[in-house]
Symmetry: C2
Subunit: 286 residues, 2 copies
């Protein structure tokens, strides 16, 4: 099946508006392209749960900082279209930057607290860009539900918060992180890694495994977990730690004493490639 390919917001809005008038549900999978198995799991889920599946493919410039990888971010459009088609996607929205941010564009969504921690501390305008483009996609497509991967955990929290705060009329579904056989979380940026960096990148998922083990064995001191994870990661020569955090899964605020479910989240640069991973870990009841 060949998905329809729309290059403008206006065409996309017209298509989706007709779908809604026909009483159809719409599942949206927002992506920056360079699709991997993580994205495809979202498309499959959207296909199972909706009458119409729309995948957006847009490398959103406003979510990249000035010294980040906007220019070299992988673009694999033909392959992305083929993959989406093979999974029964109805429409692909792949706008040019000038369609999303035309001359004179001025409006952004910002968020207090949640966007200032974890990845937001390293990337001060990143979530402003993410929230703005997602708000636009939600308004253009008006999906019944939008699907995001847990790999970008903070992104799912800030988007859920925006949807609740601004009363956006859609549901957000978060799907499990898809991993390589050795545990590395799938990411479009993994293709930046050399063979040796690819091997070193296993330190992220290994650190999360260590956190699981420590917490399962009764460790309740977040600093003990953080220090152990930092030591593990530091033993990989090419790894530079961005952050290792134990945080509340909803507020993202640091947790001191581990109880209930906590978020363990990491950002580690391997060579020149910034990778992130996370796990929601439930402490054993005392």
């Amino acid at each position: 099946m060949h998905p329809a390919i729309f290059r403008t917001s206006a065409e996309t809005a017209a298509f989706c508006s007709q779908c809604r008038r026909d009483g159809k549900t719409i599942g949206l999978v927002p992506t920056m392209g360079a699709l991997h198995e993580g994205h495809l799991s979202l498309v499959r889920r959207a296909r199972e749960e909706n009458d119409v599946v729309v995948v957006s493919i847009f490398v959103n410039p406003t979510q990249f900082g000035p010294n980040e990888d906007l220019d070299k971010y992988p673009r694999t459009f033909e392959n992305d279209v083929a993959l989406c088609g093979s999974l029964g996607t109805d429409a692909i929205f792949a706008p040019a930057p000038a369609d999303v941010y035309p001359d004179g564009y001025a409006t952004y969504i910002v968020q207090e607290r949640l966007t200032a921690v974890l990845c937001g501390a390293d990337r001060p305008t990143h979530f402003r860009g993410v929230l703005t483009v997602c708000c636009k996609l939600f308004n253009i497509i008006a999906p019944t539900v939008a699907y995001f991967g847990q790999k970008d955990y903070q992104q799912t929290v800030v988007i859920r918060r925006m949807v609740a705060d601004l009363c956006l009329p859609l549901r957000i579904e978060v799907c499990p992180t898809v991993r390589e056989p050795d545990g590395l979380a799938k990411s479009s940026r993994n293709r930046y890694l050399s063979d040796s960096e690819r091997a070193d990148a296993r330190c992220l998922s290994r650190a999360l495994e260590l956190a699981r083990t420590m917490i399962a064995q009764g460790e309740t001191d977040a600093w003990a977990v953080i220090n152990a994870l930092k030591n593990l990661i530091a033993s990989t020569k090419s790894a530079k730690i961005g952050y290792v955090a134990v945080a509340h899964p909803d507020t993202l605020e640091p947790v001191e004493r581990i109880e209930g479910t906590v978020l363990v989240a990491l950002a580690v640069t391997i060579g020149g490639t910034r990778l992130i991973d996370n796990a929601l870990i439930e402490a054993p009841t005392a």
Copy 2:
């Protein structure tokens, strides 16, 4: 006719959603209550043009600065409801602040450039509050069209810009400023004025009349107009000038040479009351 009165976003969204499913158009008039003839002109227009009319009445705390008049802002709810009823309003949305900004609320709409000038220069968080609450109202009510008064000219520009930038699916209509017989623009804040201040407040509309006359007589130097208006206003002892500006009607950027249509906009504090007024003035063709 008695309008339905909704106190929560959820009830309002349910009512409006049913209206849309029934194929009805919805006209929204967003207000902070203390309704005057300016608001009522918007309600009449909404009534003429739509199947369903919703008036929101909410004194929005986020658009007031820390030293502004949030606490003393006039609240005349019973009278507002009666006025809306007399004009055939179907529903009033009058939420509590905790419904609009519940605990943990974090998301705001901001805008570059347009919100930094004119009233935005004096009131740095004002338009953030206006944009955020309007975006929420638009999402909750999903009106076909929302009506605003030209008296708050900059507000109409930033809201139109937000609607275009975020692809919000509604139309914005701007209705003419309604004035007292002596020219004073209707405003809920006029009731703060003492009798002598009320007389002094005529300097705003007189200044706009002077601008009209000068431009009609061929004045093309914006600074000459601004200086003349400042002199006129300064001759009123109780008046303190906030700004007098000649600006482009869309970008709000200062104009030096007057041609085509220009915005002449004023903010003047009379006693303790900050008043604004404006006019779109077309220069005679050379």
